[in-house]
Symmetry: D2
Subunit: 155 residues, 4 copies
């Protein structure tokens, strides 16, 4: 999960690496499915190594769908689809920060999911760790995020 419109260059690079690493592990990548920002970068990373990519779209058609998505789920729910994103994920990695991403992190915590924050956004790290110390883990690189996913899945 991560910003569509205001992703930084570092967010996009991290997302691409995450997508690639997720696919190389044999895991399925689930994103918000759109052709921009962190969603697009992660999906492209996964497809470069033939991963399987799922996109949970906010609209009712394939408009705005990333070409790197294999399976498009059209929800027509707007931002309420963010709840489906996190419910359908075994682990949530939030790459970068913004209002939509913050809603996904909060919904993931509410649904008792583990969330890994990969960003250098200090106030988000402090806030989310404060409201859910057991569910939120900080990662400082895509590699470290993937290692954390492995530890979570092993438990």
């Amino acid at each position: 999960m991560g910003p569509g419109n205001n992703a930084t260059a570092v967010d996009l690079e991290n997302a691409y690496k995450l997508g690639k690493a997720i696919a190389l592990k044999g895991w399925v990548l689930l994103t918000g499915g759109r052709n921009l920002g962190v969603m697009e970068a992660a999906s492209k990373g996964a497809k470069e190594v033939d991963g399987l990519t799922i996109g949970i779209l906010p609209g009712n058609s394939t408009l705005g769908l990333s070409e790197a998505i294999d399976i498009a789920i059209m929800t027509d729910l707007g931002n309420a689809r963010n709840n489906i994103n996190v419910l359908s994920s075994d682990v949530v990695i939030a790459c970068g920060m913004g209002a939509g991403t913050a809603s996904e992190i909060a919904l993931a915590i509410k649904n008792k999911k583990k969330v890994i924050l990969l960003n250098n956004h200090g106030s988000s790290q402090e806030f989310f760790q404060e409201i859910a110390p057991k569910n939120v883990v900080i990662a400082n690189s895509p590699e470290s995020a993937i290692e954390t996913v492995e530890e979570i899945l092993a438990n």
Copy 2:
């Protein structure tokens, strides 16, 4: 799409054949994902020939998920998830009849999707053809339903 709880033996046999035929065509099977009725039968048919199966679940966990589903989308939307089922399908095949199935047919029509009715339920055929003559096609066998899908996809 089709009944979970009150599917007839014929519905289940048709669903199994449909799932298998869909997978053999190389198409992806999308169902409501639960481990009962038409959803389960279609998913098993698809998996027997190594098809890819997606289940759009009404709940917030994998509780009640069919073992024949590869990709589970947890919506926590209850029956509102029926709208996602039809929006995410290229063509909707309704196999059997019941209130949930009727809601999916109606939502499919509302979303301008093509719907194939595979049942021997005369009043449903009459009703849905009357409200959407251009969107609703009657099929009298799984094979004929698959042929109709091919014609729709070719247009």
Copy 3:
């Protein structure tokens, strides 16, 4: 509940009378909230006699909201909001027929709600009574629909 775009003159007259009668009974009117068709007519009927009107809108803003709605709920769910319409109603009256209305009737039945059909659309009457004989009642006038609501609420 009833068609937005293809309501007949009789549907609109019935809807207006229903809205007025609902308000005169001291009941709250809940509709899809838009400024067209059966929703608009029923809401206007209720407001003429100072009833309270609730509109469950498909969009994320007040765009297209009927001026006769007191309380607008913006769902941004598209047609999935139809499930909220019926869940939030004590009794559902379907005035006229169309794909959206059919989805509401089917969802109401699925959610074990009582539905009153007020139309002269024979195939819909036959179909819905066949799939849910205990939940579906036919009314041949707004007055008779209101009487049926009273009987249902008394049980």
Copy 4:
């Protein structure tokens, strides 16, 4: 908006005062509708002075509904109903903090709504002001929150 389960005594007192003040202004109070925490306290405050209260429930029935709610909207959307809460509000006041409340603040910001934070939770104030400086206002009392609402509505 505010926590159901982990509201502090101060949150509950603030919520009650907010509900009362909102009703005295002649505004409609919209909450998550449940019979606990900030939702319940605010609704009770509003009802004490005969305000109108709306509850947007996560479930499909009136189970868990606050007795202080006049109009119950049953969504059956689980936490996805949080998006409806904020979309249907002219101004969002977040009273207290928790994962569900954080999701509502984030969704409100995403939907370009104004949000007033009434809490003494420093990291949430810092975080949300950082991601949306123009949409987030800090209030240090119910009275100040109400004044801010008036300013927002006047613009």
